[in-house]
């Protein structure tokens, strides 16, 4: 008996391990606060907002449809292959199983990269098709490995007997063999479906513009903090699958004879069973497909006027897109990226013809130098007059004649600190090297930003390409590493709100939001100076809808729209007219959002330093990270 209870306790512990995160996510879906770091009371609003959020719903349906087709096609190919392999000689069988094992064993990252390189080499447009191909590829082995054992259990004589009795091979297969391997085929399908649904890495490398699965959508959102609607959606998905599985597994079943484990014979007489096993799945399929077709046709109907926009994650108010579509009838295909470095090869390879892209200063310079950008026809963008002159002036650092870019957001990089944890005044980068704050410091996890901190602290330019200076900066960063709690990008926000750390390096745009959520936080620009950055819209040379891009750009420069965006993303807008319209006086005059450029310490904008220097930075940063 003790043994039994020990077993039960063990099972329970494993169960807790597996389900603790899931319960956490479910709880978060009812959290009234937008950040996961704070419990803001119970709410159902995310569930309501979920169904209005077109981007998430469309990602959901894309995911379901891709998973369904990938699993379906993989099931057909895989089952056929399993049957063929079963009948092969040992040598061939080993060869085929080896082939099957490659995608199973291969690292996802290697597989994703290899497929991406292949698709780009073949000049295939990255999109729905390429994701589907990739998913089928990694799904087939799951099907084969589920079907093969079942095939082993079936006697090949039954098939021959059926043939002898006059059945055609097809008849014999569907009447005799197939019912026997059915459970394997089904579980192979389900497994493949689940794997597709859960895949991130491979989709990430093989997807194109305007298409997002839930995974990739979530990944872009990790940058800015997950939208609570995603938690709500996951909870719904999870609960519905749970219910479905419970229904199927605990549905009334005919009694099995313990010894003769023959195949379950279907008994249509039991109404309940039919409902559970046929009707419910059928209804679910209908819902999925109905929704899928609805959303798919929405996207497909865009054969008319469209504009393909490539922007940072969470960098626009979704309503702005809706308003634009309603006003102009031009459909916006909206795609998000995480870093400038991801954006560059996508644009330069020409695999995807984006119409409007929003890189940062130094990346614009790089694109310009490599002749990737088209001149903007400012006749079509009259609203550019609302952009403050000082920002156009700043932009000249990367776009000397203001011909190729229109500033969208700008800001500084500084230190965010928690007043209750830091006693002394914060005015220098030096505090990030103070032993007192060991394990309470958050650093930026990107090469240039991290080096900028060290370089400015040492009094060098943050565009330094001087090896000695860079080495010195690296030594400094290595010295700092034991004090650092974590290297993160936008999780600084959640962690600072949740009082996880005392000090963090952060973008000014994020600082405003964190202060709303946690009034103990304060943002400072250190006296040694820092980076002032500008993200600006540019039109790639291979854009196919340049005029639409200009129309959208003009729309974004409209003061009321720029204001709407500012209030949503809280990154400083260069649109002076929009700033005048901010109602909250405190926000309008916020020193964080709109610092007085003249009174700031020495500010610099990143410049592109060339491949060689890029390589040096990367190498040194690797040394820091691997210490």
């Amino acid at each position: 008996m003790i043994r039994k209870s020990l077993q039960k306790i063990y099972l329970a512990l494993i169960f807790i391990l597996l389900y603790a995160p899931i319960v956490t996510l479910m709880v978060l879906s009812f959290n009234n606060s937008k950040t996961r770091a704070k419990w803001g009371g119970f709410t159902l609003k995310w569930y309501r907002q979920l169904f209005q959020n077109e981007q998430i719903m469309s990602a959901l349906y894309t995911t379901l449809i891709i998973s369904f087709f990938a699993a379906g096609i993989a099931t057909v190919i895989g089952t056929a292959a399993a049957i063929a392999i079963q009948g092969m000689k040992q040598k061939w069988r080993t060869l085929y199983m080896g082939l099957t094992n490659i995608p199973m064993m291969n690292a996802e990252i290697v597989m994703g990269i290899s497929l991406m390189l292949l698709f780009i080499a073949l000049r295939m447009t990255l999109g729905f098709g390429t994701i589907l191909i990739a998913h089928i590829t990694f799904n087939i082995p799951y099907v084969i490995l589920s079907v093969s054992p079942k095939l082993k259990q079936t006697s090949r004589h039954t098939f021959e007997a059926a043939m002898d009795l006059g059945a055609s091979p097809l008849q014999a297969f569907f009447k005799v063999v197939f019912p026997d391997i059915m459970p394997g085929v089904l579980s192979g399908f389900m497994l493949a479906f689940t794997m597709s649904l859960d895949d991130f890495v491979i989709t990430h490398f093989t997807k194109g513009p305007g298409i997002d699965t839930l995974s990739t959508k979530i990944y872009t959102e990790v940058r800015k903090g997950i939208k609570p609607e995603i938690y709500a959606l996951s909870t719904i998905l999870f609960v519905s699958v749970l219910v479905l599985l419970l229904l199927i597994n605990y549905a009334p079943e005919e009694k099995e004879d313990g010894k003769t484990k023959r195949k379950k014979v279907k008994r249509p007489s039991k109404v309940k069973m039919v409902v559970v096993r046929r009707v419910i799945p059928a209804v679910l399929c209908l819902v999925v497909f109905g929704g899928g077709i609805y959303y798919a046709t929405r996207n497909q109907m865009m054969n008319g006027d469209k504009v393909i926009v490539y922007n940072w994650g969470e960098y626009i108010d979704p309503e702005v897109i809706t308003i634009f579509e309603e006003e102009t009838g031009i459909d916006v295909i909206y795609e998000e990226f995480e870093t400038n470095e991801i954006l560059y090869p996508k644009v330069s390879s020409g695999a995807i013809a984006y119409d409007l892209v929003c890189p940062s200063d130094y990346m614009i310079q790089r694109m310009l130098e490599n002749g990737l950008l088209a001149e903007i026809d400012f006749e079509n963008v009259p609203n550019v007059k609302y952009i403050g002159q000082q920002y156009m002036e700043q932009s000249k650092q990367f776009d000397p004649e203001n011909k190729y870019s229109v500033p969208y957001c700008w800001g500084t990089v500084g230190i965010l600190y928690n007043k209750t944890m830091v006693e002394e005044p914060v005015d220098s980068w030096g505090i990030l090297w103070d032993e007192k704050y060991k394990d309470s410091i958050l650093m930026q996890d990107s090469v240039r930003d991290a080096f900028a901190v060290a370089l400015r602290y040492l009094g060098y330019s943050l565009n330094s390409a001087d090896l000695d200076e860079l080495n010195e900066a690296m030594e400094l960063l290595i010295r700092q590493k034991p004090l650092v709690q974590a290297y993160v990008i936008d999780q600084v926000r959640d962690k600072m709100i949740g009082n996880e750390a005392a000090l963090g390096v952060i973008y000014s745009g994020e600082a405003i939001y964190t202060q709303w959520e946690n009034p103990d936080l304060e943002y400072v620009i250190p006296k040694e100076g820092t980076n002032i950055w500008i993200d600006a819209w540019v039109i790639p040379k291979n854009a196919e809808h340049k005029e639409n891009a200009e129309a959208f750009l003009d729309f974004l420069c409209r003061p009321d729209i720029a204001l709407k965006n500012f209030e949503y993303i809280t990154y400083s807008t260069p649109n002076t007219a929009a700033r005048e319209m901010i109602e909250d006086e405190q926000l309008r005059n916020s020193k964080v959002a709109f610092p007085d450029l003249d009174k700031l310490p020495e500010m610099e904008t990143f410049r592109y330093l060339g491949t060689e220097a890029d390589g040096v930075y990367g190498e040194l940063w690797n040394k820091v990270k691997s210490k």
Binding site: A81, L99, I102, S114, N249
Partner: protein, 271 residues
């Protein structure tokens, strides 16, 4: 039955087009420069102390998480296989169901659980117990790996265990072996193929992950997966990234060889 072989045709075509050829593309990238010329320089670039260290840590962490997985999974698989219930569905319920919550979200949730002011520490603090401080350390990464890959260890072991003929076990008992002896002489040897395939199914993804170390390691611990990801994303150096991928392939091929050795009947014990 002869023409059955053609049924494998589509699969062969698919595998060659989208598994074998892409790998060759990686090889191509690994040995060429931006201009397309042949070079060994990329390979030279990967044997830096930093990369070797990242590889070392990856090997170490994936080794530990594989061991932990095995230690957790074996008893679990035994308990499950000994139970007389609608097992396959139960297993599915327990292990496949979590995958319907997105992988990234599940791992992110561990952040919320493990953080200094996180859920677990709130509970521990409430009970006046010592606090857990493992977020952003290698331990958190191992936990994340174990959490994510445990099913891949449990399922193969479970699958071989249920296939063991009960009569063999009973015969051993009848012949006077105690339960420890029966386990060591009968159950364990018979379950080796499942264990081996479980080990590789955990070891390879643990060795190559970049998401788990990113989310739970606080970016302080660089695994080989992170290095590869960076070379594609941050440094846009596809050639060096491809070379590093080749390096990983060495370990993957090693694992495959190991599995092939124990999986003599070529049926695959993974699932």
């Amino acid at each position: 039955m002869k023409n059955k072989r053609y049924l494998a045709g589509p699969y062969l075509f698919w595998s060659v087009s989208f598994v074998v050829i892409p790998l060759l593309v990686i090889v191509y990238y690994a040995f060429t420069t931006d201009e397309g010329g042949f070079t060994f320089a990329n390979l030279g670039q990967i044997v830096t102390p930093e990369n070797l260290k990242a590889l070392g840590i990856s090997l170490l962490l994936s080794f530990f998480s594989t061991v932990v997985c095995l230690l957790l999974a074996y008893p679990l698989a035994m308990i499950l296989s000994a139970r007389n219930m609608n097992q396959s569905s139960f297993i599915v319920l327990i292990f496949i169901l979590p995958m319907w919550m997105n992988f990234l979200l599940r791992t992110m949730a561990w952040q919320t659980l493990l953080e200094k002011t996180g859920v677990i520490n709130s509970i521990l603090g409430f009970l006046h117990l010592p606090l857990l401080d493992i977020i952003n350390t290698p331990y958190a990464i191992i936990l994340g790996m174990v959490y994510n890959f445990l099913p891949f260890m449990v399922l193969p072991i479970y699958n071989v265990l249920i296939k063991i003929d009960k009569d063999v076990v009973n015969a051993a008992r009848d012949l006077g072996a105690n339960s420890a002896q029966t386990f060591l002489k009968i159950t364990l040897p018979l379950s080796v193929p499942g264990v081996i395939s479980g080990i590789t199914m955990v070891f390879v993804p643990a060795l190559t992950t970049f998401v788990i170390s990113d989310l739970l390691g606080g970016g302080k611990i660089l695994l080989i997966g992170n290095v590869i990801e960076q070379s594609f994303k941050q440094n846009s150096n596809w050639h060096v990234g491809s070379s590093l991928s080749l390096l990983l392939m060495v370990f993957i091929i090693g694992s495959m060889a190991l599995v092939a050795k124990y999986d003599t009947d070529g049926e695959g014990t993974v699932l």
